[in-house]
């Protein structure tokens, strides 16, 4: 489930450990790869469909030059489109540490949202798996509701949502137990 093994992450606090590092399921990005592959094939298919026609057209120096530049621009554009989609996929990341949940989302090239939630404030964690492919590949959304806020945290299209719920709930319980122990210790000291 922990797709990535990382030693550190941006904004890491002292004594904080990353328990889960989550990204969208690979199948979500696979759709982009398919689209990109299709885009790569279009000029090749068009060229191979009418080889004689292109042979005659490319005799003209101007048409040949314009075609080379257009095809080059097309492939560079496609390549950049693919890389930009990868960056968007790569930078959407959710980190569950032993202290909090960090949500980092890249929205386009110039918009980025980072938010966090302390584990002790979490009240409810639910998951949703919708559709045939998500059911087979076991990926879906995980919703995290914290006390006193209307806003929910959403881990979008993550792998093994049910296992994630179990891990988060176990961490929340552990945190609550630790807090209760600390309170007890303080009360004993006061007495």
């Amino acid at each position: 489930m922990n797709l990535l093994k990382i030693k550190s992450f941006p904004g890491q606090e002292k004594g904080e450990k990353a328990i889960l590092v989550l990204r969208r399921h690979w199948f979500v990005f696979f759709k982009t790869i398919l689209l990109f592959g299709l885009g790569l094939l279009i000029p090749i298919v068009i060229y191979n469909a009418f080889p004689e026609l292109w042979g005659n057209i490319f005799q003209n120096e101007v048409i040949k030059a314009v075609s080379i530049l257009l095809i080059s621009a097309y492939y560079l554009g496609m390549w950049l489109f693919f890389f930009a989609h990868f960056v968007d996929y790569y930078l959407d990341i959710w980190i569950v540490s032993n202290k909090r949940i960090i949500n980092t989302e890249q929205k386009g090239l110039f918009s980025r949202t980072i938010s966090e939630q302390k584990l002790e404030t979490i009240q409810d964690v639910t998951s949703e798996v919708k559709g045939i492919i998500p059911t087979f590949l076991d990926y879906g959304d995980v919703y995290i509701q914290s006390a006193g806020t209307l806003q929910r945290f959403v881990f979008k299209q993550v792998h093994h949502p049910n296992q994630i719920i179990k891990t988060i709930l176990a961490l929340v319980k552990e945190g609550q137990r630790f807090e209760a122990m600390n309170q007890l210790k303080t009360e004993i000291k006061i007495k």
Binding site: I6, F9, I68, S72, A73, F83, F86, V87, Q106, L109
Partner: protein, 83 residues
């Protein structure tokens, strides 16, 4: 004083490289922002580094391919458009 109306336009084929270079400039700007984001905000993983290398190599190959194909063109060829 009398003005003769131009009967046509003549320019070198290399003129069409200007919009292409403009496109390359825009490509470089967007590529820079994407690379900046992945380096600045990305969690340091092998996948991140690998993607940067693949993007660089892919871009290099497209440009080298373009240069190889464009080297066969006579860019001094004069285009004559008659009005």
């Amino acid at each position: 004083m009398s003005f003769a109306m131009p009967t046509g336009i003549e320019f070198e084929l290399s003129f069409i490289l200007i919009p292409y270079f403009l496109f390359l400039f825009l490509f470089a700007v967007f590529a820079f922002f994407n690379l900046y984001h992945i380096i600045r905000f990305g969690v340091k993983t092998t996948l991140g580094l690998f993607s940067i290398v693949v993007f660089g190599v892919g871009t290099f190959y497209i440009l080298v391919g373009t240069m190889a194909a464009a080297s066969e063109i006579d860019w001094n060829y004069i285009i004559n458009i008659t009005l």
